[in-house]
Symmetry: C2
Subunit: 259 residues, 2 copies
Amino acid sequence: MTDDKEGVVDLGRLRRSCSGCSLRSLCLPAGISGDDLERLDAVVRTRLPLDSGDGLFRAGDEFGNLFVVRAGCIRTTHPSSDGDEQVIGFHLPGELLGLDAISEGRHHCDAVALERTSVCAVPFDQLEEVASHVPGLQHQVLRIISRELVQEHQHLVALGRRTARERLALFLHSLSERLRAGGYSGEDFRLPMSRDDIASYLGLALETVSRLLGRLSDEGVIAVERRRVRVLDAAVLAAIAGEPGAESPDSRGSDRQVR
Amino acid sequence: MTDDKEGVVDLGRLRRSCSGCSLRSLCLPAGISGDDLERLDAVVRTRLPLDSGDGLFRAGDEFGNLFVVRAGCIRTTHPSSDGDEQVIGFHLPGELLGLDAISEGRHHCDAVALERTSVCAVPFDQLEEVASHVPGLQHQVLRIISRELVQEHQHLVALGRRTARERLALFLHSLSERLRAGGYSGEDFRLPMSRDDIASYLGLALETVSRLLGRLSDEGVIAVERRRVRVLDAAVLAAIAGEPGAESPDSRGSDRQVR
DNA sequence: GCCGAACGGTGATCGCGTTCACCGCGATCG
DNA sequence: CGATCGCGGTGAACGCGATCACCGTTCGGC
C-alpha cells in the first residue's frame, strides 16, 4: 500500500500521518510504534477542516467515529429537555471526543468548532479491530477514556463545592496546562470560547464570569484584553484554584487484597 | 480445571460464578457466553464481604482491581486539597467502580461501603489479558466505561443548571431506576446513604436536602420515613427531575462523514 | 461609509440556598 | 439507667451569585 519510492520520505504523507504528528505522544499512538503504528495510521482519517461554528456531530446522531483535535477547539454541549443546554467540555489539540457515544452507539452531545479547527476522524469499529491485535492500543484507549473520567470528577467537585472565583481560577489554570501540553504557550493565549460558554461550563451567569475576570485582572493575577489572556502569576492562580502546590504523592498502599 | 462430576451441577460454585449471577446481563459478562464466559469466570474473585464503613480503596492506592457491587452500596468520594471532600457517586448492585484508576494506575477516590456490601474483584491486568482474546469483552468494558461518562455528564448538568429541588428529584428518580435495574423495587426502598452524603453528592447543604425531602413528602410525590422512601407518584417525580416523558428518539442523522 | 448583531462590561436589585442555631429521636455503652 | 453520639428536622438571617437593565465596542455585511 506504501507507494513511497525507496529511501525517499513523502513529507506530505508523513505530515498527515500519526507517526509524523506532533501530538503523537498525547494521542492514541502513545506507546505504539513500528508496524502497529502503521496499522493505526491506515485507519485514521486526518485533516478534517472545520470553520468556526461548524458542527461535527449532534446529540442523537449515529456513532461512527471518534475524533481527535489537531488544532483549534471543539465545544461539546449537552442538550436539556427544557431547551437550555450546558457546555460539558472544551476539547483542545491532542484531546479526544465522542467517547460517551460508545455506550449506546449514539452521540449524547452536540460538538461544534469554536474557531478554525482541524480534527482526525477515527472509525471506531476499525479502531476496535486494530486494537484487538495490538494490546498496547487497547490499553491506551482505556487510559484515555479513564483520564476523561478523572477530569469529569474534578469538574464535578468544582461545580459542587467551589465558589465562582475558585471555579474560574481552576478553569484558567487547567486551560493553561492543557494548552502547554498541546505545545502552545500556557502564559499567553487566546480564549477560543465566549464568556457565555465559560459561564455555562462553570455553572455561572456570564455577568459573574465577566466581573471575576475583571477582578483577577485588577489583582494582577492575569491580564485580560477581550479574549487574550496572559497569566501573570501562575502560582497565585493555582492557589486560588485550590491546586496542591508541592504536595507529596503520598502513596498509602494498594487496594483491597483478595485472597 | 472443572472438577464437577459429569452431569452434576455444583450449586455452590455456580452461585459464585458469573454464569450463575443474577446481575450477569448488567455486568462485564453481558453478551459473553460459553468458553469465553468461563475464561472471565476464572479471573473474577467473588464475594468480598464488607461491613458498613469498611473501605475498599483510598485515593492514592495502587490500582489492582476493578470492583463490581453484588449487593449493598459503595460510596466514592473525591478528596479536596482543603480538607472537605465531595461525594462523586453511589454504586449499586451491578455497577462497576475503579474505572478512573486505569489512567494513572492509582485510585483517585476513596471507596467506602455504606451498608453490608458484597463485591466482586476483577484483577485489571488479567481482565485485559482475557479481553485481548475475547473481542466481545473488550467492547463491553468500553461500553460500561462510556456509560459511566454519560452518567457523569448528566450529573454535571444537574450541578450546573438545576435547582436544588430538581437535583433531588433527579437523584431519587435515578436511584429508583437503578435499583429496579438491579432487581430491587424502584417504588419502595431504603436509602443507603445519609442526608449529608446526598447533599454532598448534589452540591447542596444537608438542611436543604432535608427540607426538600419534607416538601416532596408534603406534596404527596414521595413518602419519607427516615431512610425509607416510597415513590407515590413516579410521573410527577420524573417531571420535576426534567426527564423527557414520552419523547421520540428523534434520530437526526449520523456524525460527520469522512471522505 | 452605514447598519445591525454579537460580544463584553457594569450597576442595582432580588432570591435561592447557605449558614448558624437549636430541636428531638434512636442506638450504643458505661 | 442516664450519658453520649450520630442522624435528621426546622427556624431565622445572611450573602453569594442570579437576574434585569443598559451601556460601549468590535466586527462582518451591504
